[in-house]
């Protein structure tokens, strides 16, 4: 019974709801301007997700590649105190 009431409430809300403009400029009379808002909203949403996702994917790929490759054994006499990065290439 409770679920039915909730379902009826949701349906009623969906029935009476109208579209809402989330920003004052979205109601611009210029169609090109409205479209520009939509396009830039999509653009600014997708770009950071792509950047963060791409970085995580790339790091994960490198971790897997390093796990698969055999370790390099470098004698301490060559390595010294400075470590491999000072030799660097």
């Amino acid at each position: 019974m409770g679920r039915l009431l909730v379902a009826c409430g949701v349906l009623a809300a969906a029935w009476v709801a109208d579209s809402a403009s989330a920003c004052p400029s979205c109601a611009s009379p210029l169609e090109e301007n409205r479209q520009a808002f939509v396009d830039t909203t999509i653009f600014l949403t997708v770009v950071p997700l792509t950047l963060i996702g791409g970085l995580i994917w790339w790091i994960r790929r490198r971790v897997r590649a390093m796990e698969d490759s055999p370790e390099i054994a470098v004698p301490d006499s060559i390595l010294g105190d400075a470590g491999p990065f000072s030799k660097g290439r």
Binding site: S28, T40, L51, E71, K87
Partner: protein, 196 residues
């Protein structure tokens, strides 16, 4: 021979190379924020352009030099390609690394000088930061990019100096390249949006 806690024989060090070198990771994060910075500027420009009464570019404003800047764009793109070749030569210890890096820097310098000359001409024609929406957006977007090109140019000069002194390692060269590829990569988008 006794083994250590991980079962490796003593005296054989483990590889200490990080998954991603600190400089590379730092530069990637910095470039990511820069991409968002330019994305914000480009978005503002797209909305400003779409809101202009009387079309874009606004009437009565100087025209931007499309053909000349296309040549300059080609120079910057070539600079990126030559830097890529320089990196390949560097990895193979090839003797032409220095020459390729010098060509890449020279092409970047050409871009900066050419753009400076273009700005002088445009200011002479009356396009200033306060002359209208076109001038405001033009100097903001192209000026922000020009600052990055100058910064990248200085970084490449620094890498060239280190290469000349045989002090350049890949952990210094990679971040410099990432920044320059960003500078090169963002320019065609700006050219397409602002000039065309």
């Amino acid at each position: 021979m006794p083994d250590d806690a991980l079962g490796r024989p003593y005296g054989v060090p483990v590889r200490r190379e990080p998954v991603v070198p600190n400089g590379v990771l730092g530069m990637l994060m910095f470039v990511a924020t820069e991409i968002m910075f330019f994305s914000g500027l480009i978005s503002a420009f797209v909305i400003g352009k779409s809101n202009a009464i009387g079309g874009w570019p606004p009437p009565g404003q100087p025209r931007l030099p499309v053909e000349e800047t296309a040549l300059n764009t080609a120079a910057l793109l070539a600079s990126g390609v030559v830097l890529f070749l320089a990196n390949r030569a560097f990895k193979n210890d090839a003797p032409n690394t220095k020459r390729l890096l010098a060509i890449s820097i020279a092409l970047g310098g050409f871009f900066v000088l050419f753009q400076g000359a273009e700005w002088v001409a445009l200011i002479g024609e009356g396009l200033t930061l306060t002359s209208g929406q076109l001038g405001g957006f033009f100097y903001l977007l192209v000026g922000a990019h020009a600052l990055h090109v100058v910064a990248g140019f200085i970084i490449l000069l620094y890498t060239y100096r280190r290469l000349s002194h045989h002090e350049l390692d890949r952990f210094t060269f990679w971040p410099a390249q990432i920044f320059w590829y960003f500078v090169v990569g963002v320019w065609p988008i700006l050219y397409w949006q602002v000039y065309l």
